[in-house]
C-alpha cells in the first residue's frame, strides 16, 4: 500500500517535471521574429484597454471601409491598467500572432521593447514622427530606437479658484505665498496625488524635474537623485506637507479624491489631469463650476515640468502582417483621426498643430494650457525595470512626505533601490 502511494506521488512529480520542461522562461527572443513578415499584408487585430468613450470602434470602422482586404479587428481588454499589462505579457510570451497592434502605456514601452516583443520602427517599418510632440516621441523611444507610435498624450495642469486667486501662480514659491488666502478661507491650499501608487511617482518626478533635477541620467539606467537639484525639488513637497500648505489628508489622495475635494470647494489649487475639467464644469455636486480655471504647473522659477502620460501603439514582433500594421499606425496619427481622439474621447492629441485648431479650443477650452504643459513635459524614466523603479520612488517619497525619513535619506535610498533593480 505504501509502495503504491509512493509510486503515485512519484508519478505526479515526474509528470509535473515533464510539463515544467515544456514551458519556456520569460526572456527575450525575437531576433528573427522582429524582421519577419515586414512586407506582408492581411487582416490584423488591434488590442487596447476598455474603449470607454467609444473612440476606437468608429476609427476602425472607418479603416475597414477603406481597406476591405486588410480589416482590423478590435480586441478590447479590461479597464484596469495592471490587467492590461499582464494580458499583453501573457500573449507575448505565447508568441501570439493574434496580437498585431497593441496599445501600451508609455511606461511599459521600454520593458516590452527590451523583452524583444515590439518591432523597431526602423527601415521598412519607419513612420513619420514630424509634427508630433518631441516629449511624446521620446517616451516611445528606447535605446535610441523608436519602438512605438505615440497615440495619445497627457499632461498635468494646475486647477485654481478664480474667485480666490486673480492670476495663477507662475512659480512654486508664488503659489505657496498665496496659501494665506486659502487659510483665511479655511480650505486646503494645494494637493496632487500623494497616495502610495503610480500617481505618487508622477508627482514626485514632477517636483524633481521641475527643479531642474532628474530621476535617471541620460543613459536611462543610472539614477541621478543625490543631486542638489533633485533634493530641492522633493524638499518643496516635503516642506509643504510639513507646514500644512498641502493638507495632511492629501497623503491619501489619488486623482479622484483630489477632484472631489476641489469640486466641493475644499481646495484652492489642485494638480490633476485634463479629465477633471469637464467634470468640474458639469458635475451636479460641483460648487466651483464657474469659479475655476487652469494654468500650467508652477516650477521652481518658471513653468513646471509635467510628467507625461498617454499611450503608444506598437507592432508585435509576432504579427503576420506587419505592413498593414504599420499603415494602421500611420492612420492613427493623421491629423483628422488625432482630432477625433480629442473631440470624441477628450484624449490629448500628440500632433502639435491641433492645439491651435479653433474648433478644438472652443470645445475643449483647456487645450492651450495643456499644450504648454505637454511642451514642457518630461517622460517618466524610460527603463525596462520600470516596475522596480516606480516602486523605489513611491516607497521612499512616501516616507519623506510623511516625515518618517529626511529628504536626503529618502533620495539616497531611492538611488540605491533603483541601482539594485537593474541587477
Amino acid at each position: 500500500m505504501n509502495k503504491s502511494r509512493l509510486a503515485a506521488v512519484a508519478g505526479v512529480a515526474v509528470f509535473g517535471l515533464a510539463l515544467a520542461g515544456c514551458s519556456g522562461g520569460g526572456t527575450a527572443g525575437g531576433g528573427n521574429d522582429a524582421t519577419a513578415n515586414l512586407t506582408s499584408r492581411g487582416p490584423i487585430t488591434y488590442v487596447q484597454g476598455k474603449d470607454n468613450s467609444n473612440v476606437v470602434r468608429p476609427l476602425i470602422d472607418k479603416w475597414n471601409a477603406a481597406h476591405p482586404k486588410e480589416k482590423v479587428t478590435f480586441k478590447e481588454q479590461s479597464d484596469q491598467a495592471d490587467q492590461q499589462h499582464d494580458d499583453l505579457v501573457q500573449h507575448f510570451q505565447a508568441k501570439d500572432a493574434g496580437y498585431d497592434v497593441v496599445d501600451v502605456d508609455v511606461v511599459w514601452t521600454a520593458e516590452f521593447a527590451a523583452k524583444g516583443w515590439l518591432t523597431p520602427l526602423t527601415g521598412k517599418m519607419k513612420i513619420d514622427t514630424s509634427g508630433l510632440f518631441p516629449s511624446a516621441v521620446k517616451a516611445a523611444t528606447y535605446n535610441n530606437t523608436l519602438y512605438a507610435a505615440p497615440q495619445t498624450s497627457d499632461g498635468g495642469m494646475l486647477y485654481y479658484r478664480t474667485d480666490l486667486v486673480k492670476t495663477p501662480p507662475k512659480t512654486w514659491d508664488e503659489m505657496m505665498s498665496m496659501c494665506s488666502i486659502a487659510k483665511a478661507n479655511n480650505i486646503g491650499c494645494y494637493a496632487g496625488q500623494f497616495a502610495k501608487y503610480e500617481g505618487l511617482t508622477v508627482n514626485a518626478s514632477e517636483a524633481i524635474n521641475g527643479a531642474g533635477g532628474s530621476v535617471l541620467g541620460s543613459d536611462g539606467t543610472t539614477p541621478t537623485l543625490t543631486t542638489d537639484k533633485a533634493k530641492n525639488g522633493l524638499d518643496l513637497l516635503a516642506a509643504a506637507f510639513k507646514d500644512g500648505n498641502i493638507p495632511a489628508e492629501a497623503i491619501t489622495y489619488q486623482e479622484e479624491q483630489g477632484r472631489i475635494a476641489f469640486e466641493s470647494g475644499k481646495l484652492m489649487f489642485l494638480r490633476n489631469w485634463p479629465y477633471v475639467y469637464n467634470l468640474a464644469k458639469t458635475d451636479g455636486s460641483s460648487v466651483v463650476k464657474d469659479t475655476f480655471a487652469v494654468a500650467p504647473l508652477p516650477g521652481l522659477d518658471g513653468v513646471g515640468a509635467s510628467t507625461l502620460g498617454g499611450h503608444n501603439a506598437a507592432v508585435s514582433v509576432y504579427s503576420d502582417h506587419k505592413a498593414t500594421a504599420k499603415d494602421f499606425l500611420n492612420f492613427l496619427l493623421t491629423a483628422e483621426n488625432q482630432k477625433f481622439f480629442a473631440t470624441q474621447g477628450s484624449l490629448a492629441p500628440v500632433r502639435m498643430s491641433l492645439y491651435d485648431d479653433q474648433e478644438l479650443i472652443t470645445k475643449l477650452p483647456y487645450i492651450p494650457t495643456l499644450k504648454e504643459s505637454i511642451d514642457n513635459a518630461v517622460p517618466r524614466p524610460v527603463t525596462p525595470f520600470y516596475p522596480a523603479v516606480t516602486k523605489a520612488i513611491q516607497d521612499n517619497t512616501y516616507s519623506a512626505l510623511k516625515g518618517d525619513k529626511s529628504v536626503d535619506q529618502a533620495l539616497k535610498d531611492m538611488e540605491a533601490a533603483i541601482k539594485s533593480a537593474g541587477s
Binding site: A8, G11, V12, A13, F15, G16, L17, L19, A20, S23, G25, G26, T27, A28, G30, D82, H85, D86, A113, A114, K115, G116, Y142, N143, A195, K196, Y197, T221, A248, E249, I251, T252, Q257, I260, A261, P384, F385, P387, A388, K391, A392, I393, Q394, D395, N396, Y398, S399, K402, D404, K405, D413, M414, A416, A417, I418, K419, S420, A421, G422, S423
Partner: protein
C-alpha cells in the same frame, strides 16, 4: 497534509463495519488492474493542477531573473541562480551590478520580506481571535429559538455573502478621510494611511466580513449538542456560566478547532482586502503589505524571484497547517473518544 496520511490507515478499520456481510478476500489481480485504471485519471488531473505548478515554481525559483544586455538593450536569460533568490528574501540580500551582496535598500521589495511576514501573522492573530469570539457569540444567538430567528440568521450571513472585492471597496469609502466613519466619530483619522489605523482598518473590515463564516461553522457544532445535557446540568445546579465553560465549550471544541484552522489558513494568504482597501500602504508605506501582496508586486518585476517567494510562502503556510493539524488532530480524536465513553469532565 498529515491529516490525510494519518487518517488514511484508519479507514480500513471502519470499512469492515459497513461491508461486514460481504465476502472478504475477493480482491484479486483483476481488481487491482481495474483500480489502477480508475485511479489514473485522478492522478493525471492532480499532476496537471497541483504537481505541475508546484514543480514548475520550484524549478523557476532556482533561475536568475532576466538581466539586461548592456550592448543591445535587450533582456537575456539569467541562468542558474542557486539559492540566491531565497537569500534575497530570507536574508534581504541584494546583489549589486558588480556582484557584491549587500542589504537591500528601502524601496526594494527584498527589504520588505520580514515586514510582510510580521504583518501577515499580525493580521492572522488578531482577526482569528476577534472572529472566533464574535462568531461564537453570534452562533449562540442563532442557536436559540425565538421569533424571527430565520431573519437574524439570514442577516448575519449577509457580510459573508458579499464578494471580498466589493466589501473592500465599501470599507474604502467608509474609511475615506471625508467618509462616514470619521464624520460619525467626529475624528480626523487617516484610516488608510496611518500605521496602526490602517492595520486596524484591515482587521475591522476582515472581522466584519468573515465572522459570519465562523458563526456558521460553530453553529453547526452547537446544534449537535443535545438539550438533555443542559437539562442534566441544570438539575445538578450548574449556573449559566458553568454550563458554557463545562458543557458547551468542550463539546463544541472539535467544530471550533476546524473553524479556527480554516480561518488561520485563509488569513495567512490574505490578499484582496488589503490590496483594494489600502493597496498594501499605511505607515511608512508598507504597513499592510502581506506576503501575498508582496508576491504579486514581485511578479511584475521578475517571475523567478517571485517563484522563490511563493515557495517560501507556501512552506510557511504548510508549516503552520502542519503544526495545527497535529495539535488539532490529536484533540479531535481525544474528544470524540472521551465523548463516546461519556466522560465529560
Amino acid at each position: 497534509m498529515s491529516a490525510v496520511t494519518e487518517a488514511a490507515p484508519k479507514l480500513p478499520t471502519s470499512n469492515p463495519v459497513r461491508s461486514g456481510g460481504r465476502k472478504r478476500g475477493g480482491l484479486n489481480e483483476a481488481h487491482g488492474r481495474w483500480a489502477t485504471y480508475l485511479i489514473t485519471p485522478a492522478i493525471v488531473v492532480l499532476g496537471i493542477v497541483i504537481g505541475y505548478p508546484v514543480v514548475s515554481a520550484i524549478i523557476m525559483s532556482f533561475q536568475k531573473d532576466a538581466g539586461l544586455d548592456k550592448a543591445t538593450g535587450l533582456f537575456v536569460a539569467g541562468g542558474f541562480a542557486g539559492f540566491s533568490n531565497y537569500a534575497h528574501w530570507l536574508l534581504q540580500q541584494c546583489v549589486s551590478a558588480t556582484g557584491v551582496a549587500a542589504a537591500c535598500p528601502p524601496g526594494n521589495l527584498g527589504a520588505q520580506f520580514w515586514n510582510a511576514f510580521g504583518t501577515t501573522f499580525f493580521f492572522t492573530a488578531f482577526t482569528v481571535v476577534f472572529e472566533t469570539i464574535l462568531g461564537f457569540w453570534m452562533a449562540i444567538i442563532m442557536n436559540r429559538s425565538f421569533r424571527g430567528r430565520g431573519l437574524v440568521r439570514a442577516a448575519i450571513l449577509v457580510p459573508w455573502a458579499i464578494p471580498t472585492a466589493v466589501t473592500a471597496k465599501l470599507w474604502f469609502f467608509i474609511f475615506a478621510f471625508n467618509g462616514i466613519l470619521n464624520s460619525l466619530l467626529g475624528t480626523k483619522i487617516l484610516w488608510t494611511s496611518d500605521e496602526w489605523a490602517s492595520k486596524f482598518a484591515i482587521i475591522i473590515a476582515d472581522t466584519w466580513k468573515t465572522t459570519p463564516f465562523m458563526a456558521l461553522l460553530i453553529l453547526a457544532g452547537l446544534q449537535l449538542i443535545s438539550q438533555e445535557i443542559y437539562e442534566a446540568g441544570r438539575m445538578d445546579g450548574a449556573s449559566t456560566v458553568q454550563q458554557f465553560f463545562r458543557l458547551t465549550l468542550p463539546l463544541v471544541k472539535p467544530a471550533l478547532l476546524v473553524a479556527v484552522l480554516f480561518r488561520v489558513l485563509d488569513a495567512l494568504r490574505i490578499y484582496d482586502l488589503p490590496a483594494i482597501l489600502t493597496q498594501g500602504g499605511g505607515g511608512s508605506g508598507n504597513a499592510t503589505t502581506t506576503l501575498s501582496i508582496l508576491v504579486v508586486d514581485q511578479i511584475r518585476q521578475g517571475f523567478n524571484s517571485a517563484s522563490a517567494l511563493s515557495t517560501i510562502t507556501f512552506l510557511i503556510i504548510f508549516i503552520v497547517a502542519f503544526i495545527f493539524v497535529r495539535f488539532l488532530g490529536a484533540n479531535v480524536v481525544q474528544t470524540q473518544a472521551s465523548q463516546q465513553k461519556g466522560e465529560l469532565k
